[in-house]
């Protein structure tokens, strides 16, 4: 299966990456090269094979259901969380206006 430039632009839009026409043209070739190569996976007989989602069997744990169970990842860290925000405002993340 090959993808065309319209598909490249569609993928870029889904991935929220702005691309120019020149970039889309270059990427068309690169992505087709890579996708053509991974296509060989189709020849593997996977009848009855389960997809692997976790490489080492490891049961997910539940932590105690208490507030701020871990002081590092718990609450009351607003200033730390906003410290690297590009445009914090009034103790919140700032974004461009989304509702007119």
């Amino acid at each position: 299966m090959t993808i065309d430039q319209a598909t490249v632009r569609k993928i870029a839009s889904l991935a929220r990456i702005a691309i120019s026409d020149a970039e889309a043209a270059a990427m068309e070739g690169e992505l087709n090269g890579i996708l053509g190569w991974v296509e060989q996976l189709g020849e593997v007989d996977v009848t009855g094979v389960e997809p692997m989602t976790a490489v080492i069997p490891n049961r997910l744990r539940l932590r105690d259901d208490v507030i701020d169970a871990d002081p590092l990842t718990g609450g009351n860290r607003r200033d730390d969380i906003l410290a690297n925000a590009p445009a914090p405002q009034h103790g919140f993340f700032g974004v461009p206006k989304v509702i007119e």
């Binding site: 598909t7 990427m27 060989q40 189709g42 692997m52 744990r61 860290r77 969380i81 925000a85 461009p96």
Partner: protein, 493 residues
């Protein structure tokens, strides 16, 4: 006295403990080497003050009789680990200026063990690359040169290329690396040092900038096997903050090191004999087989039939996970924001991500987005996950008849910068021997074994059963003792 920067981690630890030198002297010596090696571009940020502060603490601890396991040892930290108060970029423009307010679990463990930090090491952007040519902060240069009289700049491997270059050039005795599809082992092989990727889950991923979460695993890089064991003991361990962290005790790998392989079986996978491969690689492999026999091991032929599908499966799974993980870079919460005039929220996302990600990162996000998109998910992603099951099964069956597997680390010695950048696929193929163990989550290490005809280092890879880092380290030690690899790059920087 031997030059301090030529000492290994064990020698620094033991010499400091014995009072042969102070930790401050060691830190100053390494700081000076770091400051004098700008031409290698191995560091994104240098942190000489951190190294000196830890050294002073180590000297005080020695006086007080409260030495820690790694007191007095300064190390390099791959710039993929979040470090509290020190810029952490993943070598990207996206995270340029990002100063974490928290410390990754692995780096915290090393500081708690007494280590100091010489600086944050350069890498491929978001750990995506095999040559360190995708960093926003410029290429890392290997200290090695070919013996052809030319002056071609060589790749230090990737993604942990700052780590490999810095250790080989004696800018630090050891460093952290991370390995998603070979990013510890291949750079270690390219510069003639050792590196181990432990079993998936041994080291906490908390605070490591995520690339492909089902594959990412931290590990140490150092000049010899003992140092890797020492470092890994101080990096590994259960962490409740990482859902995939293994809740298992950390063995005393260093204490149990033994190069006596009597009763051990070493598997040689026939699928790793590639048609048309550099004869130096095969010769090194054969020499490695002889070394392990000499150490008492029995050699058995094994088959890993799905080997050829490992790379294509990896290049679906890793980009798929990356496209999901890197969705967090949106210009809102941290990192770069590019807000064109009159742009709305969606335009801001797209502009920020266009500006903040390099070409290889974009390529992988695009591939990942495509293989996860409606209509293609089963054909690509689910199929790749099924093939991953088969690859893991290959290893399980092989480990029914052998204890460790011996193979080359990479299909070539270090290549020149720019030689493989035109074609992404040719770069990907350099990880052909490294990726299968990553997909199966197995411990694997590279140890330097020989120089090729160009005078460049080649590495041998040992792959072990899950949780059997000891078996991997021991086989690595047996090779190290017999290969007697002591070549080092002549200083030109």
């Amino acid at each position: 006295m031997t030059e301090l920067t030529n000492l290994t981690v064990a020698q620094i630890r033991d010499g400091h403990r014995a009072g042969d030198f102070s930790a401050v002297e060691v830190a100053e010596a390494f700081n000076a080497n770091v400051a004098g090696a700008k031409a290698l571009n191995a560091f994104i940020v240098e942190t000489p003050d951190h190294a000196i502060a830890a050294a002073k603490a180590a000297d005080a601890d020695r006086a007080a009789g409260t030495l820690k396991p790694l007191s007095g040892v300064p190390i390099g930290m791959k710039d993929l680990f979040a470090t509290n108060g020190v810029q952490t970029t993943a070598a990207s423009h996206m995270l340029e200026g990002f100063v974490p307010r928290y410390e990754s679990t692995v780096s915290q463990k090393l500081w708690d063990a007494g280590c100091g930090m010489l600086g944050k090491l350069n890498l491929d952007q978001f750990a995506m690359g095999s040559s360190n040519e995708t960093s926003y902060f410029g290429n890392v240069i290997s200290p090695w040169k070919r013996n052809d009289g030319g002056n071609a700049a060589l790749a230090p491997g990737g993604s942990s290329g700052g780590s490999s270059s810095a250790i080989a050039a004696r800018l630090c005795p050891a460093a952290t690396g991370t390995d998603t599809g070979g990013s510890i082992r291949q750079p270690a092989a390219f510069v003639g040092i050792s590196g181990i990727k432990p079993t998936y889950g041994r080291c906490s991923r908390w605070g490591i900038v995520a690339f492909a979460s089902s594959l990412d695993q931290a590990g140490p890089m150092a000049r010899d096997v003992r140092d890797c064991a020492i470092m890994l003991e101080n990096m590994a361990g259960f962490d409740p903050k990482d859902a995939t962290s293994l809740n298992m005790a950390v063995p005393n790998w260093e204490a149990a090191l033994s190069s006596d392989l009597k009763g051990k079986k070493v598997g040689i996978p026939k699928e790793y004999r590639l048609e048309g491969i550099d004869p130096d690689i095969d010769a090194m492999w054969d020499a490695g087989i002889a070394m392990l026999k000499d150490a008492g091991a029995e050699v058995v032929d094994i088959s890993l039939p799905h080997t050829k599908y490992a790379l294509p499966a990896y290049y679906i799974i890793a980009p798929a996970e990356a496209s999901s993980n890197l969705a967090r870079y949106d210009g809102v919460r941290y990192g770069l924001r590019d807000l064109p005039e009159k742009a709305g929220l969606q335009d801001m996302y797209a502009a920020t991500r266009a500006d903040g990600f390099g070409p290889e990162v974009k390529r992988r996000i695009m591939i990942g987005t495509y293989v996860l998109s409606a209509g293609f998910y089963d054909a690509y992603y689910t199929q790749a996950q099924k093939v991953r099951t088969l690859i893991a099964r290959d290893f399980e069956q092989a480990f029914g008849v052998c204890d460790v597997i011996l193979a080359p680390t990479a299909p070539s010695a270090a290549f020149g910068l720019g030689e493989k950048t035109a074609d992404p696929l040719s770069m990907y193929l350099n990880d052909v021997f490294a990726v299968p163990a990553s997909l199966a989550g197995l411990p694997a290490m590279s140890v330097p074994a020989a120089l090729n005809r160009e005078g460049l280092p080649l590495g041998l890879q040992i792959i072990g059963k899950a949780f059997d880092e000891q078996g991997v380290l021991n086989a690595g030690l047996a090779i190290e003792e017999r290969a007697g690899f002591n070549a080092r790059a002549e200083k030109w920087w």
